[in-house]
């Protein structure tokens, strides 16, 4: 793999870590469920870097968390986070970034906002929950439907993040067109 790609992967992994510092925002009209910026970073990694590099960037980020870096939102890290009921969501992240990057690449003609919004929604929500909900069900010993209902409280916040991811991708593409590696 080219060195430039290697550095890009490392930089997006670091960016996802930096976004973990953004304080969680509790949105009152969504019932006060806190939303963090970290999954925004996961969506962006796929949208900006494309499937393989995006997926690898998220994988690298999770690897560092597993090694003991406190990079997850709220300063969490270490092997303990992989023993929580949310582990399925973490496993879904790299796959979600891959799918988001793949959609971005598969829709070269579409404008960036629309394409990024679809990528973020499918990769960042659908795919991530596809892994996350069975994870909750298994770790918590709950039926799938109950696990799905319990996880659903985060979906409104994730929809907000889809819009933000699309806006951010569009802004970056305007400021630094070369940054849309998923399309080059």
């Amino acid at each position: 793999m080219a060195d430039r790609s290697l550095v890009h992967i490392a930089f997006y992994a670091a960016l996802i870590a930096a976004l973990g510092l953004v304080p969680p925002v509790a949105i009152p009209f969504l019932g006060g469920v806190p939303i963090t910026a970290q999954t925004l970073g996961v969506m962006l990694a796929g949208i900006m870097l494309g499937p393989v590099r995006g997926g690898l960037a998220v994988l690298l980020f999770l690897f560092l968390v597993a090694l003991g870096a406190p990079f997850l939102a709220g300063g969490r890290g270490g092997l303990g986070v992989f023993a929580t009921p949310s582990v399925g969501f973490l496993i879904g992240w790299p796959v979600g970034a891959f799918v988001a990057g793949w959609i971005m690449r598969a829709t070269p003609g579409m404008n960036i906002f629309a394409s990024a919004a679809v990528s973020a929604a499918v990769g960042g929500i659908l795919v991530v929950y596809l892994f996350g909900i069975p994870g909750v069900a298994y770790m918590a010993g709950l039926p799938l439907t109950t696990a799905a209902l319990g996880s659903a409280i985060y979906i409104p916040g994730d929809l907000v993040k889809v819009v933000l991811a699309a806006l951010i991708a569009q802004t970056i593409a305007r400021g630094l067109p070369g940054a849309m590696l998923s399309r080059s």
Binding site: R4, A14, G80, A83, T146
Partner: protein
């Protein structure tokens, strides 16, 4: 360096990283085979005992459970609604044991040693003509640049707060990303100038912290 590692010299610190990982992995698999709250309580006592052997700093690390109380509480409520309250108690106890045990490995193992212990897993990369050292190089890059980006971000946030009064906004993310990407191009050039990742990766070792004298 940023890590959840707890400085110390206990028996757990001295145990080899690979062994600790193996024990926790096997214990976690076994815990999924049992369903008796009594066994879980015994395991919990054992794990908390291990934290106690690390001293008061070790016991302070049990505070990590505080962040999980809401989540575990919700799980218990969901079980209670589904009419499986006692199973819920088992589930919560098992999760607490699993989380504390896994965390115990992380707080008693240096990131370097942990990386060293899992490096054999990257050996298959060699079959595809990739150096197994590349993941280690990536880890070192992230550890070097994550704090730097966090610094850029908090500086941008301060400036934004001074201008607008608002604490933070999504509008800070595009400039952050653009600055970071510009920097990543420079780093890629610097890496190239030093013989590329293969040149670096061919060297004896890439360390994530300065070598102890």
């Amino acid at each position: 360096m940023i890590s959840i590692y707890l400085q110390g010299d206990s028996w757990l610190h001295r145990a080899p990283a690979g062994l600790k990982l193996f024990v926790v992995a096997v214990a976690s698999l076994l815990l999924f085979q049992v369903n008796s709250p009594l066994i879980f309580i015994a395991c919990l006592a054992g794990v908390v005992g291990c934290y106690a052997t690390l001293g008061s700093e070790g016991l302070k690390r049990l505070a990590l459970l505080r962040g999980l109380t809401v989540l575990l509480g919700i799980l218990l409520v969901l079980h209670w609604i589904s009419g499986t309250f006692w199973e819920g108690i088992s589930v919560v106890l098992r999760l607490v044991v699993l989380i504390l045990a896994a965390n115990l490995v992380s707080i008693t193992t240096r990131m370097d040693d942990m990386l060293e212990a899992v490096m054999p897993l990257f050996r298959p990369l060699g079959w595809f003509g990739l150096s197994a050292r590349k993941p280690a190089l990536c880890v070192a890059l992230v550890l070097r640049f994550a704090p730097y980006m966090m610094q850029i971000f908090s500086r941008m946030r301060e400036a934004y707060q001074a201008r607008t009064g608002a604490k933070n906004s999504w509008k800070l993310i595009p400039p952050l990303a653009i600055q970071c990407l510009r920097m990543s191009d420079n780093v890629a050039d610097a890496l190239q100038a030093r013989g590329g990742s293969d040149g670096l990766a061919g060297q004896a070792e890439i360390r994530t912290r300065p070598k102890a004298a």
